[in-house]
């Protein structure tokens, strides 16, 4: 078996083994945790080794890609889809992130989940999740990608609802499910449109079609929807899917609720890998997006707005995981800006750096929660630097990296994103740049607010906090080191670097995708870099002022600007708006709905007009179902008579 096939096979085998353990433990047999942990760790580590091997192959000059055709997946009529795995430079980057960071998180989780009654089930799901994530990036066509896309979604719901005996967790899983279905609908429609236009769903086929003689004409043709071209419509539909999976405006509401799952899950799927799938999708289809300036502008605007908006929301959260959740949404906004500029490599680089520092932060948060006896409210923490110094160092490094302190990883990646956005020269680019700058200030503030509230000051909690086991702090330490060092992979030319990462990725994503860049001069670049760094540092300073030096300032601010504070604390009431506009009607139509049937035998109060009409018709039909044999036969005879009358009349 070649290395490429080994990646999914190893992960699937791990999931299957742990699945069997899980079944066995349901039957009352005790499976030693060590065994489960070994299987759980072996799967991603083997996959990591295989990925490194594939990476080595791909890097060899003149190779560029590795491809394995496994079997015919769907062969129905003219729809023919092979299960083919492809690894090119872009895939390699994603694979290394998934398996590398995945391995560390798996190791961490074996300690974190210690003693849980469903230990094997958890790791079965986690391995399966990694498997689907690998399939997502390895797939050679949109349907295979979609298989992985749905698979990670499924595992994510299973893991969010892992502690399902609590109904709140179960309904958080449900919320993620429903919101993602909306995105999927867009994805499917976009996929279908592409198939109608190009007759293929293979990435290579699509690209050849796009580059071929009729490609530009076919994609540029009017799609018949609001005068948009086919490329614009398809890209926007696919992007709807991406906003769902990557938690962008307006479909971001599920991600903060998803924090109900165990923390390693949040680290792996809701920070490092799954939520970046939308970014990967846009990068993978960069050749398609390049046909449509509208679509690229939309990606940038949505990314920019999400970046700033979610950053603001993170500012006044008190739940440590909620802060990180909003920060994730905000950071994915940067990635979207990056891929939206037409330079996918900058967006992807932020995916990589973010994976390191966000995973480190989540694992650190998990350690803190673990140490504080499942306390998640930061107001009941504080002073932990003395109790758990190693965690504190790791988290502070990661936070500094995210805030863009030079020369840590976040500095390079964020700066590059903002530079490309500014340089693109379009209105959307400028908008995204402004949002990104403001977001940078927010990032500095909320990250160090988190650090200061958790580790600074005095301990405000109950019970005795303690340092976590070695397996946990070692993994988060490694991730923090990554957050420090990984930025040097893409040192921009202006600082004397060679942008190794960009050069590597752009072999797969040639820059013909990029709009003609009008080059701003070096001094502008210096100026921008300085400004964004300064903003980040200002945010950090403000956090220091408010939360270490003089903790009364936040309250004073809240008293002075009560409305703003309320708006921020209430996360701009987006959830409430959705609640009133969508969730409540849907709930009425779904869960609330059958209570009423049971109570009164009638459905009432379906808010939506069409739904009310549907129910009205349904009720009328129900009355026509009298249960009389004669009525049924009379209807049959009448139908025969009417049909014959129409046909022969």
């Amino acid at each position: 078996m070649d290395a490429l096939t080994l990646i999914p096979v190893a992960l699937l085998a791990g999931a299957a083994l742990n699945g069997i353990f899980s079944l066995a433990s349901l039957r009352g047999r005790r499976i030693p945790e060590v065994l489960v942990a070994l299987v759980a760790i072996a799967a991603p580590v083997v996959a990591l080794a295989a990925s490194l091997h594939v990476f080595g192959d791909v890097r060899q000059p003149g190779v560029g890609r590795v491809e394995v055709e496994l079997f015919d997946w769907i062969a129905a009529g003219n729809l023919n889809i092979d299960m083919t795995l492809v690894a090119d430079n872009l895939t390699c980057v994603m694979l290394l992130v998934i398996t590398g960071i995945g391995s560390l998180i798996h190791i961490y989780a074996t300690a974190y989940m210690h003693g849980d009654e469903a230990y094997p089930r958890f790791f079965a799901c986690l391995n399966l999740f990694t498997f689907f994530m690998a399939m997502l990036v390895l797939g050679s066509s949109l349907p295979v990608l979609f298989l992985g896309w749905e698979g990670v979604g499924l595992c994510s719901y299973l893991l969010i609802g892992f502690w399902w005996k609590d109904a709140k967790n179960a309904s958080a899983g449900m919320k993620a499910f429903v919101v993602n279905r909306i995105g999927d609908a867009g994805f499917l429609l976009g996929m279908f449109l592409l198939w109608q236009t190009a007759g293929t769903l293979e990435f290579d086929g699509l690209r050849q079609f796009a580059e071929g003689a009729g490609g530009a004409g076919a994609f540029g043709a009017d799609s018949g929807v609001f005068g948009a071209s086919v490329a614009t419509l398809a890209c926007l539909l696919l992007f709807v899917g991406a906003t769902g999976k990557s938690a962008q405006i307006p479909l971001f509401v599920w991600l903060p609720d998803a924090m109900a799952g165990p923390t390693p899950v949040s680290a792996l799927s809701h920070a490092a890998t799954m939520v970046t799938a939308g970014v990967y999708l846009v990068a993978r289809l960069a050749f398609l997006f390049s046909f449509s300036a509208t679509a690229l502008a939309t990606v940038m605007v949505i990314g920019g707005a999400t970046c700033f908006f979610a950053g603001l929301m993170a500012v006044r959260q008190n739940d440590i995981k909620k802060v990180l959740a909003y920060s994730t949404i905000s950071q994915i906004g940067y990635m979207m800006i990056g891929v939206g500029t037409g330079w996918p490599n900058v967006g992807l680089f932020h995916v990589v750096t973010h994976a390191f520092f966000k995973a480190a932060l989540f694992l650190g948060a998990g350690s803190v929660i673990h140490a504080c006896h499942h306390e998640q409210d930061m107001r009941h923490m504080g002073g932990l630097v003395k109790k758990m110094p190693l965690t504190a160092i790791a988290m502070t490094l990661a936070a500094a990296a995210m805030a863009g302190v030079p020369p840590l990883a976040g500095f390079f990646s964020k700066d590059e994103v903002l530079w490309r956005a500014f340089e693109s020269g379009t209105a959307a680019g400028r908008f995204a740049w402004v949002c990104g700058m403001l977001g940078a200030a927010c990032t500095g503030f909320y990250m160090f607010r988190l650090i200061f509230m958790t580790f600074g000051g005095k301990y405000r909690g109950h019970g005795e906090a303690h340092e976590v086991p070695a397996r946990m702090w070692v993994t988060q330490g490694l991730l923090a080191l990554g957050a420090v060092g990984v930025g040097f992979l893409a040192v921009p030319h202006i600082l004397g670097g060679h942008d190794l990462f960009g050069v590597f990725v752009n072999k797969t994503l040639p820059l013909w995708a990029a709009p003609a860049a009008h080059h701003a001069d070096a001094s502008t670049e210096w100026l921008l870099m300085g400004t964004s760094t300064a903003l980040g540092l200002a945010g950090i300073f403000a956090a220091w002022l408010c939360y270490l030096r003089n903790p009364r300032i936040p309250e004073a601010c809240a008293r002075t600007f009560p409305r703003t504070a309320k708006l921020l604390e209430g996360k701009f009431f987006v959830d409430e708006a959705y609640e009133a506009g969508i969730v409540r009607p849907v709930e009425k139509a779904a869960s609330g709905f059958f209570h009423r049937i049971l109570d009164r035998g009638i459905i009432e109060g379906i808010v939506n007009g069409s739904a009310a009409a549907a129910t009205f018709v349904a009720r009328t039909l129900r009355h026509s179902q009298t249960g009389l044999v004669r009525a049924g036969i009379g209807l049959m005879l009448a139908a025969v008579a009417v049909l014959l009358f129409i046909l022969l009349g």
Binding site: W73, G77, A590, M636, V640
Partner: protein, 492 residues
């Protein structure tokens, strides 16, 4: 003729039936063996099909008998449905305090009738097979004859069915009068000049098949009969009858199409009406079984839409071929997911007349996680959510429909496609309602559920696995089936 698998299976079924009737009865001390004998017979039948790997082609008895892939698939499918139903039925009847060995014999006869029906193009034989199946089903519906609902269900089915067979007989008589033969092969030219009588035959034929397939407006019996019949039998009616009925219709469509150029339009209208009425009807039900009855009506509409594509695409073209593959695939998935849903239902029904309400499933996730997961698979698949067989099936039908949008009947196909999309959305509401009840409701005050024996539970899990397996690897069933064939052939 003895090397012919179809004849072997018929003989097996007949022998099994007689054995059940002679030796299947239980006594007060010893439970009956009827179910076991029927199961063994059906397994033997299935393995005969598998040994022949659904390949082969042939004719016999002056063309009254026809062996081809489509017929074999339907025959094996009905035998599989019969097997699952018999396993469920044995336990279900025992829980109701009854034995009813004859029901198992009738099940074998119903499967035999279906097999005869799908393996012919001779109208008289088709009629005979159809009626054998129907007579057996009438009695099975009313098996618990001491219950009001069961007898009512059986009698309604019987009366409407007898009416429909009279329609079918007249239709067959007219076609015979027009062509002088019951063979449909090569009769297209004669049928094309049939004039008014031909149209009459066509309409009568559609009415009779519309009854069997519960197409609107020939559907009124279906919810009542499905509700009153023993739940496993309902599952059998909802799956095997539709499978064989649609396969037969698919086979006859070219000949019927010759009778009137408006056939496509009629079928499309029936399809739209069927999906709408089925989905809307299901929306307001609180009794799960009745909801599933309406849901099966709705699915008959989707299936009919696929049949419309077969008819709309130029005969013999790749598109027509693709559409009939899509229809067959949908049928197979439909059988699997409905057997699963009705199976879960049957396992959760208490003894007695009381219908299972939606609320009885509340909190099933906590009470029976595996059962809830199986039902979840069934509901998601019925709703057509990705990664389930139902999604792939619906996707294929949808693709086939849209593929014909540019063809000669573009407008009609577009209308059909949008109806399928609209109705799927309505469907989501009631399927997800079941999911919400199982997973979000607490269900602390729900009534206790009956004890579940091992074998049916295993079967339910197997079905759930198959539904998901088809959703992830659409060719998986064919691959698995070929693997079993290879294995069996090494044994013989």
């Amino acid at each position: 003729m003895l090397h012919n698998p179809a004849i072997w299976t018929l003989l097996l079924l007949a022998a099994g039936c007689v054995t059940v009737l002679l030796f299947g009865h239980g006594t007060a001390l010893r439970p009956g063996r009827g179910g076991a004998i029927a199961n063994i017979t059906l397994l033997l039948v299935l393995s005969v099909w598998w040994v022949h790997a659904f390949h082969g082609h042939g004719e016999g008895f002056d063309g009254m008998f026809l062996l081809d892939r489509m017929g074999m698939l339907a025959a094996a499918g009905s035998a599989f449905a019969g097997f699952v139903t018999t396993v469920m039925l044995t336990g279900w009847l025992r829980r109701q305090g009854r034995e009813c060995a004859e029901v198992h014999a009738l099940m074998l006869l119903a499967v035999a009738g279906m097999q005869v029906m799908v393996q012919t193009r001779h109208l008289a034989v088709l009629f005979l097979g159809l009626e054998t199946m129907s007579v057996a089903l009438y009695a099975m519906c009313a098996a618990l004859r001491e219950r009001r609902a069961a007898v009512e269900s059986g009698f309604k089915y019987f009366l409407t069915g007898a009416f429909a067979s009279a329609l079918l007989l007249l239709a067959i008589a007219i076609i015979f009068g027009l062509t002088g033969s019951f063979h449909l092969d090569g009769a297209e030219t004669k049928l094309a000049h049939a004039g008014e009588l031909g149209v009459i035959a066509l309409v009568l034929f559609l009415a009779a098949f519309g009854f069997k397939l519960s197409l609107v407006p020939f559907h009124q019996w279906a919810p009542d009969v499905y509700e009153g019949a023993p739940t496993p039998v309902t599952g059998f009616m909802a799956t095997a009858v539709k499978l064989t009925g649609f396969m037969t219709l698919l086979r006859l469509v070219p000949a019927l199409g010759a009778l009137s150029q408006h056939l496509l339009l009629i079928l499309a209208v029936l399809a739209i009406a069927t999906m709408l009425v089925g989905n809307l009807g299901a929306l307001v039900q609180t009794r799960v079984k009745r909801m599933l009855a309406y849901s099966s009506i709705a699915h008959a509409g989707y299936l009919l839409a696929a049949l419309c594509v077969v008819l709309a695409a130029p005969a013999g073209s790749a598109a027509a071929e693709g559409a009939s593959v899509a229809l067959s695939f949908y049928l197979v998935v439909y059988v699997l997911m409905n057997l699963l849903a009705f199976g879960v239902l049957a396992l959760n029904e208490r003894a007695g007349d009381e219908p299972l309400l939606l609320n009885d499933l509340a909190g099933l996730r906590n009470r029976r996680p595996w059962m809830a997961a199986a039902m979840l698979a069934a509901m998601l698949s019925l709703a057509g959510i990705p990664l389930t067989g139902g999604f792939i099936a619906k996707w294929q039908v949808f693709t086939a429909l849209l593929g014909e949008c540019g063809g000669a009947h573009g407008t009609l196909m577009t209308v059909l496609a949008s109806s399928v999309a609209l109705c799927s959305v309505i469907g989501l509401a009631y399927y997800l309602r079941v999911v919400m009840t199982m997973y979000v409701e607490k269900g602390e005050d729900a009534k206790p559920l009956p004890v579940v024996p091992f074998a049916p539970m295993l079967l339910v899990m197997l079905l759930a696995g198959l539904v998901l397996w088809v959703g992830i690897v659409p060719d998986g069933l064919a691959l698995g089936s070929e693997a079993i064939s290879g294995f069996l052939r090494t044994l013989f």
